[in-house]
């Protein structure tokens, strides 16, 4: 039990070091070069209009666009909610079938046919050094 806790601790340390590295990388390299871009500033860059200067309708449009990603799932059709899972299952199944087939193919190609092996054996036996006395 204690050993398992220690192992989990080791995993957490490695994962934490990795995450810390990514955080430092994002802070030092990315933020200093481009600066963090909010949704509004990205929109301003794309459209060329300051979001602060928009009227009520415009501001509402920006707000609804920002909330587009956070639509509650109840508002989506049922087939959209389940289609993603099916899509992911198809991807995983496709990769599994393809890799299993390639593995079988490699195995089949690496095995020498029996006739060839027999032929090689006979050739070896017929060499003068291998002839029975």
């Amino acid at each position: 039990m204690l050993r398992n806790f220690l192992r989990i601790f080791v995993i957490l340390i490695i994962a934490g070091a990795l995450a810390g590295g990514v955080y430092v990388f994002s802070n030092i390299v990315l933020t200093q070069s481009t600066g963090p871009l909010s949704f509004e500033s990205q929109l301003e860059q794309a459209v060329g209009v300051s979001t602060a200067s928009l009227n009520t309708d415009g501001a509402q449009a920006v707000a609804s666009a920002r909330d587009f990603d956070h639509r509650p799932p109840e508002n989506l059709p049922i087939w959209i909610r389940f289609s993603g899972i099916l899509g992911h299952m198809v991807v995983i199944a496709g990769i599994t079938v393809a890799v299993t087939y390639i593995q079988k193919l490699i195995k089949r190609l690496s095995v020498k046919p029996k006739a060839l092996m027999n032929h090689q054996k006979m050739q070896k036996q017929s060499q003068p050094n291998n002839l029975p006395a």
Binding site: S26, P36, F39, P73, G84, H88, I92, A93, T100
Partner: protein, 175 residues
Amino acid sequence: MIAKSKNSLNKINLYLDLVLVVGFLITMEEKLTGQTLHEWLGIALGASLMVHLLPHWSWIVAVTQRFFRKIPRPTRLNYLLNTALFVTFTLIIFSGLMISESVTGILGLSGSQDPFWKMLHVTASNTVLVLVGLHIALHWQWVVNAFKRYVFSRMQGYFGRRPAAGLTSAAVTHK
């Protein structure tokens, strides 16, 4: 005794892996669960992945020690793939925590607005889907054998023991 404990370990492994695959597929689909459940499922998946590593700890240590020496090619490939999976899952969970709203909200924190984290989260998620596919493919033989031994044989035994309906009534009549 050892064979029995190995058997039960394999059975636990199979069930844990099934839970992981189903949990992974549900967590991947944010539209199905909604934002809040997606975040909590992601954290639960991270914890389950750590538990998934524990039974394979001796293999991890042994291959890490011998990685630069002569080891079979499939083992090396497996190790590299598993390392990539670990790194990608760590990136997903960390970037997810960075952009989270519900989980960080409970702790009194607010998620980052930097689009970098969102981009990292989405890219790592798409990558991990392919890596999980490869991981399952490389262990496919084990999955098939474990299913045969622990799921299908049990089902066969269950259905085999039960006599057909006609036979039951005949047996009852005969009695």
